[in-house]
Each structure stands twice: as structure tokens, then as C-alpha cells.
Amino acid sequence: MRSSPRGLGQLIVACCLLALGGAGAAVAGTAKLYIAATGGKEVYVVDVASNTLAKTLEVGKSPHGIAASTDGRWLWIATEGDGKLHKIDAVHDVETASFDLGPYQQEIEITNDGRLLYTGRFMDGCYDVFDTVKQSVVARIPVDGNPHNVVKAANDDRYMYLSPMSIDPDTVAKSAIKRGILRDCAGKPKTAYLPNDKIYVADTRTNTVVGTIPVGGSPRPIAASDDGKRLYANIDGWLGFLVIDPQARKVIERVKFPLVTDDEKTTFSRAHGIWVTPDQKEVWTASVNHGVVYAYDRTTDPVRLIARIPVGAAPYWISFSPDDRTGYISLSEGDAIAVIDVASHKLVKTIQLPKGSGPKTTQVVVAPAP
């Protein structure tokens, strides 16, 4: 997903500390930011140490979902435009295999053992479960709406949290159904459409839905705390985010962004992009049309706004370096990545990408040394 591999980051830091103390022979890896350039065919690789563009990988049309194995060895990328899943050697940044899963692949997530990968098929009302060892889809999970996002808790992958979004029902009725664009899990054209307003809880042992969490609107990006005790969700129609207790399966707080300027008060925006800092102290989320990222203290109850960070047009996804020092915000409209100093909550740099690249999903991966 669009995250830093938080559990992995902590693991690497622990290994480094052991190595410094002479107690082990662990070797720290190389932290790299992978950026899915949805407007093209590329994934850009930024060296986290220097915050400079290091490499460009051409994978396939409209890269969208990114997930990494827990050891940082393998990277998986779903390309929406050609419906493929690409396996990348994250040490050398080369593609080693690709699999045809069908069009409209969206966000992806992988179990901690690297075995099962979950991918949403936007137009098909279905999340596919891809077995990376058998190299085939082993289960399909039907849902309402349009499958888009999926996350797990870094330290507890018993459940995958699926958040299908919804298309405007009026548009669906007038266009998508008539054109036969929407399909079911089996690939048959749908004759009716059910918008989605809940997060699905899928058990990774059975690949079945074991519960749902009503959120009152079309869910968008979601994030989980490492311990799995909290989910944070953007939903359409709510300029802010929800705090969710996944065990109780209920929303426990609805947080609205403070609107400061007249422009913010009168111009529509939507919340998209949310993630938790690796130290688990803050949750960051973005207001797309207003060009602002908000940082909230999640150690308080209720959560407390601690920073408002203007970043320019269309902030979209959020990742963090494993050392907690840097936040990365993809700016889809500006074809750039905003680099934020986490301690000061200040924009320190913008990494410019090629025009039209449309950066969206990002993830920091600590790849093992070659």
C-alpha cells in the first residue's frame, strides 16, 4: 500500500542497533520511495537518504497499487491500465515476473508472510486474492461499490480491511449499466448497482468477509495503526476523517478539517490520503482541492490537530520514511512529491517528476543490501 513499511522500519532500526552493539551481523538496507506514476507507465524510485530521484522503472500502463514483502526483498505493483501484477526485485529494481489479473487493478496489500496479495478490481465488484506461490488467484471476495483500497495492520495481518468506493449512482444508472462496464466477480455485466458505505473485514485465513464497519459514505483511503486497534478513513462527502475501532466495528470519532480561508469555506474539496507516522504518534491526511495536509496527534482522545501544512495543488497519498523524519506527499496535479520534515511539519523540498506523470500511490521500502 501507500505506506512506509512501519513494522519493517522498526525491525531494520532494531537490527542496526544490534549491529552497532556488536551483538549481531545484521545489515541495514537501502530506504527507497517508490512512486506509482498513474499518468504514465513508470514507477519512480527516490533515494530516501538524499531525497533525489534515483531510478525510473517502466512497468505498465497506469501503475496504481504498491505492496512490499515484509523483508523488503520483493515489490508488487498493480497496473490499472493493462490489468497486470508486476513482481519487482526491490534490491536491484528489476521486474522478474508479471501476471495478468484483468483490468482496473487498484490498491493492493500483502500478508506478512508474503503469500497472499489482495487486489481490488474497480469495475468488477470484486477483490481478488492472489497466491504469490501458486501464482494464481485463489479466492474472490464480492463487495458492493467499486473495489479500490485495502490495508492491514502492520503487526497483525489476520484481517484485511477492504474499502470499496462508490461511483455517483446517477452516473451509473445513465451510463455504466447501459454500457455494460460494471461486472460481478464472475465477469458478468451487472444489471443493478449497489453503492458502498462500509468497510469490509476479511479474514485472511478463510478469505471471507467476517464483518463490516458502517462509515456513512463511500469509503476512500484507509490506514491502520500497527497494533490494529485503530483504523482511520477518508470518506466521500466528509472533509476530514473517521477514527474507527475495528474490534468493535464502529466509528468512534468524526474529525472535520478546520476551514480557515474564504476559499476553503466556499470551494469544494475532498479528503484523500491518510497514513500513520511510523512512531504511531500522528495521523496525517490531506484535503485535495485545498492543497493542505493536516497532522493530528493520535495519542490523545479525541485526536488533536497539531499542524496544517500547505503543499500546493492536489495532495493525494502519504508515506513516511521508516526513521520518522520525512513525510512524502504525492501531488498528482503538480507531478511532484512534497517532502515534509515530520518534526517541524514544514515543507522542505519538492521533487519534480516528468509532466503528466500523475504521481499517486507511494511506498517507502527498505530493501536488503545487494
Binding site: 497506469s62 452516473t171 445513465k174 476559499d263 466556499t266 469544494f268 475532498r270 485535495v288 482541492n289 492536489a314
Partner: protein, 151 residues
Amino acid sequence: MERRALIGGAAATLATAATRAGAAPSPRFLPLQAPVVTPVSQLETVWAAVPFRARFTKSNGEDSVVPGIAVRTPRRIEAFCAYCPHELCVIKLTDEHGLRCPCHFSLFDPLKGGAWISGPAMRRTYRFDYRVKGPDLVITGIEADLERRLL
């Protein structure tokens, strides 16, 4: 282009264009709080584009400001609502003369009144009510269907 061809107000011209393209008829519009006036002199060059913002009152009494783009196409002057119908990201006119959403890359055709070409939007751009009056492009209304997306 002859002045006559430039007079491409929403009602008559779009109705004709819609008939040709098989598109939807002219929609119902909500009035803007004040007309948005853009000098035609700023749109003399083909594919010149001028962004604007139009303010209207929603049915709940709140103000809403809607971004738009006035474009001189090879055929006429047009005013497009810049909200992508998919998720209301702000679309831009590309160097290739398409209207493109930066969020999910829905693409619309400015030569066909903002008709949907591709992407998840699956409908044309929302429309403004506008006409050329003398030296100005005057925008007076916004498609009513947009309002429910902003409430």
C-alpha cells in the same frame, strides 16, 4: 474565425451541437450570484484558456465557488465547469487539447462541449450557461445537477 461563429452561447449552439453529437440536451441551470465576465480579447487565439471562478448559492443557503475554464476552440468559445464529474477534482486543458482530470485521468472533449471520452467519470463535464455579449463572454448559470454533489 468569423464573429458569428464565436457567438456560441450554451442554449442555441449547444443544442445544435448536442443534436449533431447525439449528446444530452441543455440542462437546467442555477443562477450565479453575479455574472462572470471574461473579455473575448483574452480568448482570441485558438486554444487560449482563461480560468475563472463562479459563485452561486446552494439550496442550503451556503455559498459555493465553482472553478471553470473558458476556452477558445477552433469552433467557438466555450465555458467548461472544471470539476471532474467523477470526484470533483479540478480538470485542466492539456497541451493536446483535451480536458483531463489529474486525479483519475478522465478525459473530456472540448470540441464536443466537454463530452466524456474515457476514464471513470462516465459523463460529460458539468455545464455553465453562457453567451458572448459584445466584447465579453458572460457566464450566468451553473448546471443544477452539480449542486447535489456539493451539498
